[in-house]
Every structure is written in structure tokens, then in C-alpha cells.
Symmetry: C2
Subunit: 740 residues, 2 copies
């Protein structure tokens, strides 16, 4: 008998964490009862399961709807709006907390370092400041890395791949838990303050998703507290819909781009158009943007409200471009794609190496600290060697460092380092021409490219939007400088514009996002004239980059073996039929099935859904007419609560859909359920009719894969039954079947 | 035998227009062959049919794909991008043509009127100017109305309901024809220049849709010219996808809001997320916006590029709002909803009246001219009676009229009339406080409300966005004036801000658009701070308005009896089963069916699709296993080209999917096809296997309507087969079944 490791359908608590319950007393059914397990072809396994987005419209659901139809519907709709409002507000507040903390801590750190440099340089001693720099980098990073490594590993990295997966319909354990949020927020503060080459935007999106999942369920697994509200939102469908709101609120807060946030969530969920959900999502995003703007403006005590979100590219005047610049922009886009592809390749190789050889937790922490030290070292080296002196007042750096420059001058190379990466990006966009020596930028680009490359993949919470923008802005400005040299006498070449295009190119070439990124950048630049250059640049970058490899997030997801479904059917599967990709190893249950058999299949398979069949010849459960579909979680609850046909009179009037909702999302495993021996001996049965989904989606085995894929993606399915011309079950398709 | 009027599946040429072909020589099959026509329940009829959006993946399609797979795919993808580019460019050029024509003609008209007033007022004679005004109104309107009434009636009105219907999946005859485009463009110019209370935005969206449909097909029905390109785009699926691009390009050109355009198209198509289509749609929209900006800027000879689309609300400074203003905005929104509901009710009643009693074409033209005259009369009355004199220079009106004011003053009441409505909206947004007397606005609002109400529904090409914005901006400014009176000493109340909110409220209350309108307004105001007030205002307006009736477009569509599917299942149908709404009167064909029978069903029913069944007991075509689905248009082509089983060896190698594509979209009717008597006598048969869709979507008869509705909407279906547990066909569902 094949004993598969049972996969918990909860948010992924390993079985060790479960309290020790009396071992079940059931017997393993004899072989002839469950012959199907001696399968030749085993269904593809993955440790990641899908979300049950499809609504199970069984009799309990219908009863629930009919009970207090109008009243409950209005109440639920109102609750959805309230939850969306709070998702927006809380996401923004978390964003403010992160932004303000980073700002303040960075300011103190760099002011202190600046003073240390100024004081020590008189003695000609730069070793002390260097050591201070290393320490002020490594210490926060150590804290952040410890948190991520020991407290909540899921909080590592950007968080955007996790949110993408969740919206794609994949259940990654612990992705949307409060503990994850806490570690993520604190972690990103420590990482950015620790001078690592990264940003806070990706983590902000993840935070938004967690907040949404958390509020909407009205209970916290981390704190084991149930507020007993929003019980009607306790299923995968509602939760995923709220995470759509949360992700868009996160993007809105991170970039000050609510419409970009909406499109990001839509692009990743990529299912069908749900008008009311999308309206609420836009509302969430706008509330998030607004709250963040309000709080940050109040915090900075500004008279006029000019703050436009965390990711403030600053205002661009109506700076149009010449028609001959468009091909240049496209070339820059292509270069960004190339550069991005290279970045992805090297980063992925490095991470695979890390996965294989750097396994111990304490070594990962040391590694993170070392990278922080390396960042400091490169910074100091660059500042020391390049004497890029500019008169004060030109650059709005908060902490200008004089170094070896004359009085009333500051070192422009140093100013790239002695501030947060985001502030550096802003400078590169807005500094007047000639603010940086060509050498400075020429050296900075490969250094930062290298640093960001070794940083992404560390056990820290950090995103890659800002480093990509920074590298791109730097080489973009370089392009402008070269053009100014080459084509003197030509109309004025605005370096800020080229910095913007370079940033878009590099970012687009790395993350390969199209629609949402275009809209985010258009919104953030606040200038509709840049829409065309931006979209051309991103398209070039994507086409060039896609020639070599996938975007960084998709690559990460692929390397992690997550069954992620892209937007289009894989090319080679285009005209294949369902029959070819389906799993023939499908385990069915009869409409009235014995408890013994149910227990057997739950114990001996790891499948999460079973077609319900009838008209079975003898015990041949392989050939039956499809009548419905039942989930493992439902069977678990049925067994746990003893909802048997024979004891119907006891539970018939008392159960409702709440019986099932209350168990969500932590269901017991089959091993934890006690079924008394006599029930098995008396051959109790379960009547699926009440509980099953009576109209599961099904396709004929000759349907093309492209059609099935579209259905799967559009409806957010987890299982799809395959039938023949007589409606007999011949196979089943889950997302993993598309990726074989 | 029931003889239904055969509905042409073409773009709606009535049978009169068809050239007279020899009457077919077939005999009507005897009753016992087609017993099913004595149906008790007749399927719901509507003169509007659905689009065949679902791709028919039959053997011909597969052969075509396999033939030159990679090469053709790349070629098609490239072609799609080229078409999208040109959709954007051409839509913008048409927009420029319309905008520039209106601007120039209006300027000349009002300058001339202004001079006429100035000259004649010295004599105290205002009758001549008045008569001139009436003539310069009525004449263009007469031209426009003649065009619309006699040349192309489909071009009447806004055009947005037609585009909504098309994206909804309904085939309205002649909606996307070149002739329609021409009449629309010229018509809207005449209407706006004729001083009617309307705007050009809706017609612009329609123009975009026509351009898209036109270019993508590579041929023109109006000019009977086939350029023989893009033949692979000749089906409903591709055409509708391109119309998505075109509609968004139209919105982008009309409002300078490409992202709003994208969301408008997505909201109306409301199907599943198609990544590449949406990327191209955004590209189209941005190209459209950019081209329009470029051309208009060049035309105006401006140094700096500030022009932001036709619908230029002008720049708003970062004008935030106080927290106590938010409830005021929401109240204004609610008032807008109320006011909009009233507007819709009266306009709809008037239009129903027109439909019943004003039927002759020449009377409609007279009516339009009368309304133009009435507009002029009201304007003159208002200008004459209200002496709202302001010092020159305050108001950037191009043609200020002095009337009874002192020298160096101008009549502000007149300035509301002596310019295009769009220019008036802009003034109301940007004029400094005190530019208009309260009396002026107090009188203007009901006048314009009334005028716009009697204008919409005339036989002219004209939209309602601008009149709604104008009315709303006026009463918004009134609110600001009242508040300034009441709360003197409170912080400065910016009337422009209130004008914007009032405009949003009135427009939202009338059209009840949410997502796309919010994004359009946010983009157009160019100020992210207004996102929150705008979304709150629109939400209030929608909730308040929806309490009374549907939005104007939806009401029009409903009154026209178009089988339009909204975003959500109708409430009362929520838990109903498929069985209840399906049409049991379904006509099936066997896998190998006699030509006689096929001809019979084509002649005697008006159905457009037939399930293909097998395992039929005797001749009982009612109970068969569903094997596929065949469309009327396919059967027509099969009969026309004699693709019979018995003559297979003649055509087997020569036909391909092109055989069917070439006939699109004008198929012959069954009456026009000659089938020789001997073929019938020899009992020729058609083998459906090659031609039919082998994997049609189907649902079990116990599936809930909400599930079916979602499937229908998400996949853009036209037919959905209903089967029982044994896969036997029991019924069929089309969109009309949802609306019973």
C-alpha cells in the first residue's frame, strides 16, 4: 500500500506542532477494498496545494442562502466595504511605520557617520569611520536576519513572489499570518537601515496581503484569538478576494499609485472580471494612498500636500521628448532587458548555490552580515577613490559629506551612499546636469549591480524594486552624459529624463512586469507625456529579456517548484487533449460510501478532492457517472462530527454551513480523528448528497488543453474532472498536470 | 409548421438588400422528419444575436494550427501589435479632426455672433443677432440630423451603449461600419457646432470601436473592398478583441486618459483576463493619447506640451480638502445621484414618447432643429435678462460679449453660452471665485438640465458626458458660493474644487459608471489627491441613483430590448437551477445528418446553433449524447459549398479553415442557397465531425444559475448546452434565457 505523507490542508503547520491526540483506532482497510492505490502512474506531487476558490454550492450552502437572504446579503456587502476600508487604512499605517522608521534611523545613522568622517579626516584617519560604517550596517542586518531565519522564514526576500502565488491560487504555508507581517515589517526596516542594496516596496505589498487576510477572517492564528466576526468570510474564496484588495493597497502605499495597485492585483489574480470586488479594490487602494499621504504629510509638518507616496519620484515638469529619442529609449529598454537577464541568471545561480551549500542557519546570518560589511566597504572605497566634488546646495542630500573636497563642497560619490537607496534614486532623477562625474556613475553601476545581486536571496526581508531603479537611473544618466558629450550643440539633453527611462528599463528587464508596472510608473511620474516612452521601454525590455530567461519572480517561483500557472498555455501543450495531461489515477467515492473506504483513501492518498460517482458496477469505482465532488476537508469534518447516514436523525437539524466554516482553515488530519471501532464494524456510510458540490466543472477528455487552461485560470479552479461521452469519470486535472 | 423569420447572421443587411438569387429548389421536408417544431414553448426571440466569441476548435482549426505553427503564430502576434498601433493612431487622428473642426467652426460662429451682437446692440436691436443665433444653430443641426436619419441611423446618440453592447457580446447590426464612422464624426461636429447641449466624447469612443473593427478585418463592407490582409482575424473572437482596443483608444483620445480607457474596455467586456490583449489595449490607448496630444499641440503651435487630451480639465494645483468636506462631497454625490435619476426618468419617458408618436423621419429632423432653436432662445433669454458683468481678463473666454455691460467688461452669463460646452466646463473649474453671480448659475442649472434632457434622444450624433459635467460643475460652484456666504471667516472655499465634485456627482449619477469613470476623472484632473473625494462622490451617486433606476446607458439598452448581461446574476435567479431557465426547445442534429433535415431546420427555425448528438434512438433527436456543437453559419457554408459526406473525395483536400473565414461576416441566408433536387433525392448527408466544435461548454441541469451566468459572462459564450447525468442533451441556454 502506498503510504503518502499526508499534507495538512491548514496554513501549513507541520504535524509536529499538532497536539498529541489519541492515535486513531481504525484499521487499515484490506487491499481489495481500495485496489486503486496500486497505481502505475502516480499523480504529480508538490508540497504546495491550491486554494479552493470554487464555491461549493451544496445543499447546506443553499439552505444558508435561503434562510436570511436579503438581510444577510446586505450585511455581508456592508461588511466587505468596511473590511476594504480598514485594509486600506491599516496597510497605509504599516507603510508609514516602516517609512518613518527607516527615515529616522537612516538619518541618525548617516549623520553620525558624517560627523565621524568629518572629525576623523582631520587626523587623516578614515579607519574608524569605516569600522563604524561596517558596524552600523552589520548590526541591524544581523537583527533582521535572526528574525527572518529563526522566527519566520517565510518573511524572507521580497514577498512579491509569495503574493503572486497566493493570487495565482496556491496555498503557501504561513504566507498571510500576523507573525509573518511583524517579521517582515521589522525586517525590512533593519535591512534598509543596514545599508543593504534593497528596498521596502515588495515587503509592503506582502504586508498589505497579510493585513487583508488577517482582518477579513476576524481571527488570528498567531495569537490564537477568535473575534467571532466575519465568520461568513471564512473560506478560501473570500480570503483570496480580500488578499486582492490587500495586495493592491500595498502597492498603492508603496508607490503612491492606487490605479497601479489595482492593476497589479488584477494582473496577478488574472481570473474573471468581478465588478464589485474590483470596485472595492480600487477603493482600498485609494484609501491606502490617501492615508499614507496624510500621515506622512502631517509627520513632516508640510504646509502644502505634495507628498505622493513612499516611492516619490518627485515631480517631473512637462518634459516631452523628441521623436528621435524614441528609438534611443527602445534601445535603452533592450539594454535593460539584457542587463536584467544577466542579473537574474547570476542571482539565480548564486541562490541555487546557497540552497545547496549554505544550509546552516547561523551561517546564513553571518553571510548577511558579511554582505552588509561588503556594501560598506565598496561604499567607502568608492568615496575614497573618487573625488567628485560639487558645490553645496546643488544636491538636496540631507547629509552631505565633505571628505577631501574643499569647504562648501561635498563629495557627490559619497552622497550616493550616505542616504537610503530611495533618496538616491530621487536625486538621480532630479539633480541638475553635471551633478555627478561620469566616473562616479561608471563605477557606481557595476558596484551596485553586484551588490544587489548578492543581496537578493539572503535571509533578510528586502525587495528589489529600488536597487533596479537605482542601477538603471545611474546608467540612464550615464547615457545622457555621453550623449551630451557626443552631440554638443544639440538641444539640451535632460539627464533626469534618461535616468527615468534607464530605471524603467532596468526594472522592467528584471521583473518583466508589463501592465501594472507601466501604470505604476506613469502614475508615479505624474506626467502623462511619459506614458509612451515608458510603455515602449518596458516592452523592449520584456521582449529582450524574455529571449533569455523569465523574470526574477517567475524564476524564483519556478526554482522553488511551485505549481504556478502563467497567463498563457505553455506553447507545447497548445493542441494537446485533456486525455494526455490528465491524471488517470483518480480516486472516486460513491454517493453512499462506507466510512471504512473513506478513511482508507484519506489515509492512503494525499489527494484533496474526490469525484463523487454513481451507477458503479459492483465495486469498480473506476467507472462511474460523475455526480459531484467532495473535498478532503469536508470529509474530515464529516468524520470528525460523525455525520453518518445512519445517525442522520441526530445531526440533520443541527448542522449548517457554519459547521464547516468553523473548522477553517485548520482542519484535523485523518490521524487525529477517532472513529470508534463499532461504527466501522457496523459498516456505517456517508451520504455525499448533502455535502458534495453537485455541479463540479468537468470537461470532455478530448477538449484541448488551451481551453481547459483558460477555464482553470479564469475560474480559479483546483480540480477539474475529466469525463467521457457518457459522463463517466476518466481522469482528473489539477494545476500540476499543466506543468509536467 | 412554424415559419420563423430568418435572421441574417451578417452585420444585419435586411433581406431586401440582398441581390435576388434564384429561389431555392428544395422542398420543405415533411412533418415527420422535423417533429420538434411543434414546440409548446417557443424560445425567447430578440432581434439581437450574440457574437460567437467562443473559438470553434474543430479539425480544420487544428490542421491550420499544425500547418505552420510557429511561423504563423509569430506573424499573427506581430500583426496584432501593428493593428493595435494603427488603431491608436487613427483613432487619435479622427479625434483631432473632430476637435479641430469643432474648435474652428465654433470660434467663427461665436465671433460672428459676438460681432453681430456688438453691432446691433448700439441700435438697441437684438432681434437680428437672435435670428442669426437660431440659424447658426439650426442649420448645422439640420445637416447632422439628415445624415443620421437618412444615411446611417445607427450613428444616432452617444454610441457608448452600442459599444457596451458589442463588448457585452451582442451583435448590433452596422455598429462597426465605416459609414457609421463617417456619419458619426461629421454628425458630432454639426451637433456641437449647432449649439446643442451635448459633447463629443461618447461618439469618440464609438469611432474608436469602428476603426478597430475596420482595420482588423482588412476589408470594408461599406466600400466593398477586400485588401486581403489580416484574413486570420476574420471571426467574431478576433474582431471583438480588437474592438476592446478601439474602445479604449477612443476613451483615451476623448479624455486624455489612457488608463481610464483601458479600464473602460475591461469593465464593459468583463470577461476573463487576457494578458496579451490587455497589454496591447494599454499600448493602443497610450498611442492614441500621445498622437492626439502631439497633433493638437502642433496645431496650436504651443512651445511646451501641456495639452492633455480633448477633455482638458486643466491643471489643478495640489488642492487638498479638509476632512469635514468629505461628508459634504458625499452629500453632493448623493444629490448627483438623485438629480441623475430624475434626468434619466424624464429623458426615458420623453424618448418612449418619441418612439411612439414622432415616427416620420422628416419630423425628427424638424424636431432636432427646433431643439437647436430652443437652445438658442434660452441662451439669449438668459443673456438678456441677467446682467452678470465682470471685468475683462478674468475669464479666458475667447469671445467675450459685452452686451449691456460697461466697456472693458463682459457678460459672464453670455460667456457660458458663447463657447463650446467643453470650454464652459473648463471655465467653471478654473475661474476664480466670484466669476459668476449666484443668479447666473441658479438659472443656468435648470435650463441646461432641461436642454440636455430634451436633446438626448434626438436623431443626432451627440454624447452626454459634457452636459452632465456642465450641469454638475454649475451647481457645484453654486454650493461653494452658498458655503462662502454661510461660513464667512472659514478657510477659503475653492469653487473650482466644488465644481469638480459637482461635475463628478452629476455625471456619476447619470451614467452610473464606477471604476472606469473614477480612473478617467483621476487621470484627467492629474492630481492624485482628488482620488479619494472622487471615488466617494461616485460611490454615493451610484448608491443613491441605483435606488431609483439604472444608469442612462443601461436604461436605453433595456428599453431597446437588447439582451444585455450585467455583471451580476439577477438577484431573483440566484439559487435557481439551469433546468428552470433553459430552453427545452432545443434542435439537435446527428453526427451524420441528412441534408434534407439540415435544410429544414435552417429554414424553419431561427436558431443559430445546434447541438450535435449521437446514440439517437431511431429518429428521436431529442435524446442524444452531446458530441459537439455546430453553428448556423457553418451549416450555411457547408451547404453552399456542397461539403457532403458522399462527395468527400472532391473537397477533402481542398478545404481549410479559410473556406469558412472567407465568408465572414456576410453569410448567405438559407433561401439564397441552391441545393439541387437530386442531392436531396439521393439523401446526401453531412458528417459533422470535421466541422463541429468537439468540446462545447456544457452544464448539468442542476447547476445553479449564478454559476452558469459567471461562466457565460467570463467566457463570452453564446450558447451553453444543458445535459443530464448521462450527458444527454436536455436543453440549451442563450443570453436571452437569463433575462426572462
Amino acid at each position: 500500500m502506498i503510504k503518502e505523507r499526508l499534507i495538512d490542508d491548514s496554513d501549513g503547520e507541520s504535524e509536529n506542532d499538532q497536539t498529541n491526540i489519541l492515535a486513531t483506532q481504525i484499521q487499515i482497510p484490506p487491499d481489495d477494498v481500495v485496489p486503486v492505490f496500486r497505481a502505475r502512474a502516480v499523480r504529480p506531487q508538490s508540497k504546495y496545494e491550491g486554494l479552493d476558490y470554487d464555491i461549493c454550492e451544496n445543499q447546506l450552502y443553499e439552505n444558508d442562502l435561503m434562510k436570511n437572504e436579503q438581510h444577510l446579503k446586505a450585511k455581508k456587502d456592508f461588511a466587505r466595504w468596511i473590511v476594504s476600508l480598514f485594509i486600506g487604512i491599516l496597510t497605509a499605517l504599516v507603510g508609514c511605520f516602516i517609512a518613518i522608521s527607516i527615515e529616522e534611523i537612516s538619518y541618525y545613522k548617516y549623520s553620525w557617520l558624517q560627523k565621524a568622517v568629518q572629525q576623523n579626516i582631520i587626523h587623516g584617519d578614515l579607519v574608524m569611520p569605516y569600522i563604524f560604517y561596517v558596524i552600523t550596517n552589520a548590526l541591524p542586518v544581523m537583527i533582521g536576519s535572526i528574525l527572518v531565519t529563526y522566527v519566520e522564514p517565510v518573511a524572507t526576500g521580497s514577498g512579491i513572489p509569495l503574493v503572486k502565488c497566493y493570487l495565482n491560487g496556491i496555498k503557501i504555508p504561513k504566507v498571510v499570518r500576523l507573525k509573518t507581517l511583524a517579521v517582515k515589517a521589522v525586517g525590512v526596516i533593519t535591512s534598509v537601515c543596514g545599508g543593504l542594496a534593497g528596498g521596502k516596496e515588495g515587503p509592503m505589498v506582502h504586508c498589505g496581503a497579510v493585513i487583508a487576510a488577517g482582518i477579513s477572517q476576524g481571527k488570528s492564528s498567531s495569537f490564537n484569538k477568535d473575534f467571532k466576526i466575519f465568520r461568513y468570510f471564512r473560506d478560501d474564496h473570500e480570503k483570496r478576494d480580500f488578499v486582492v484588495c490587500g495586495a493592491s493597497a500595498g502597492v498603492a502605499a508603496a508607490f503612491g499609485a492606487p490605479i497601479g495597485g489595482l492593476l497589479f492585483a488584477l494582473e496577478e489574480a488574472a481570473s474573471f472580471w468581478n465588478q464589485s470586488l474590483i470596485w472595492r479594490t480600487l477603493f482600498s487602494a485609494i484609501v491606502s494612498s490617501f492615508t499614507l499621504n496624510l500621515v506622512l504629510t502631517a509627520y513632516h509638518g508640510l504646509e502644502n500636500f505634495t507628498y505622493h507616496g513612499l516611492f516619490n519620484l518627485g515631480e517631473f515638469e512637462a518634459l516631452p521628448f523628441e521623436y528621435y529619442e524614441l528609438p534611443i529609449f527602445m534601445a535603452m529598454g533592450a539594454f535593460g532587458g539584457l542587463s536584467g537577464a544577466l542579473w537574474i541568471k547570476s542571482n539565480t545561480t548564486l541562490n541555487i548555490f546557497r540552497e545547496k551549500y549554505i544550509k546552516q542557519k547561523w551561517i546564513r546570518i553571518i553571510e548577511a552580515m558579511m554582505v552588509a560589511a561588503i556594501s560598506a566597504s565598496f561604499a567607502c572605497l568608492m568615496m575614497y577613490l573618487i573625488n567628485d566634488c560639487r558645490p553645496l546646495g546643488n544636491d538636496p542630500t540631507l547629509t552631505p559629506v565633505q571628505l577631501f573636497c574643499d569647504d562648501n563642497e561635498y563629495n557627490a560619490a559619497a552622497s550616493l551612499w550616505f542616504q537610503t537607496p530611495e533618496q538616491s534614486v530621487r536625486s538621480l532623477f532630479h539633480d541638475p546636469p553635471g551633478s555627478h562625474k561620469i566616473t562616479t556613475l561608471l563605477v557606481f553601476v557595476p558596484i551596485y549591480f553586484f551588490l544587489s545581486n548578492i543581496t537578493y536571496g539572503l535571509n533578510v526581508s528586502l525587495g528589489i524594486f529600488i536597487p533596479c531603479l537605482l542601477v538603471g537611473a545611474a546608467w540612464g544618466r550615464l547615457v545622457a552624459s555621453f550623449m551630451a558629450l557626443e552631440f554638443t550643440g544639440v538641444k539640451f539633453i535632460n539627464p533626469g529624463k534618461y535616468a527615468l527611462i534607464g530605471a524603467a528599463a532596468q526594472l522592467g528587464g528584471t521583473v518583466r512586469m508589463t501592465i501594472s508596472l507601466a501604470v505604476i510608473l506613469i502614475e508615479t511620474t505624474g506626467n502623462i507625456w511619459f506614458a509612451l516612452p515608458i510603455i515602449l521601454t518596458l516592452t523592449s525590455a520584456k521582449w529582450m529579456g524574455d529571449y533569455f530567461n523569465d523574470g526574477i519572480y517567475d524564476t524564483q517561483i519556478h526554482v522553488a517548484n511551485v505549481p504556478f500557472l502563467s497567463w498563457h498555455t505553455p506553447n507545447k501543450l497548445f493542441m494537446t487533449k485533456a486525455k494526455k495531461i490528465m491524471s488517470e489515477d483518480v480516486v472516486c467515492v460513491r454517493m453512499k460510501e462506507s466510512v471504512e473506504y473513506i478513511v482508507g483513501i484519506l489515509k492512503n492518498t494525499s489527494y484533496h478532492g474526490f469525484p463523487v460517482i454513481d451507477q458503479v458496477a459492483d465495486n469498480d469505482r473506476k467507472n462511474g457517472r460523475l455526480r459531484g465532488f467532495i473535498l478532503r476537508t469536508q470529509l474530515i469534518v464529516i468524520l470528525e462530527k460523525s455525520l453518518f447516514e445512519e445517525t442522520k436523525r441526530f445531526w440533520e437539524r443541527t448542522i449548517s454551513i457554519e459547521t464547516f466554516r468553523n473548522e477553517y482553515p485548520r482542519y484535523k488530519t485523518i490521524d487525529e480523528i477517532r472513529i470508534s471501532r463499532d461504527k466501522l464494524a457496523q459498516k456505517y456510510t456517508i451520504n455525499m448528497e448533502v455535502f458534495m458540490n453537485p455541479s463540479p466543472y468537468k470537461v470532455n477528455q478530448l477538449t484541448s488543453v488551451s481551453r481547459i487552461f483558460m477555464l482553470f485560470r479564469a475560474l480559479g479552479l483546483r480540480h477539474l474532472c475529466v469525463v467521457d461521452e457518457n459522463n463517466l469519470v476518466t481522469g482528473i486535472i489539477t494545476r500540476k498536470d499543466f506543468l509536467k
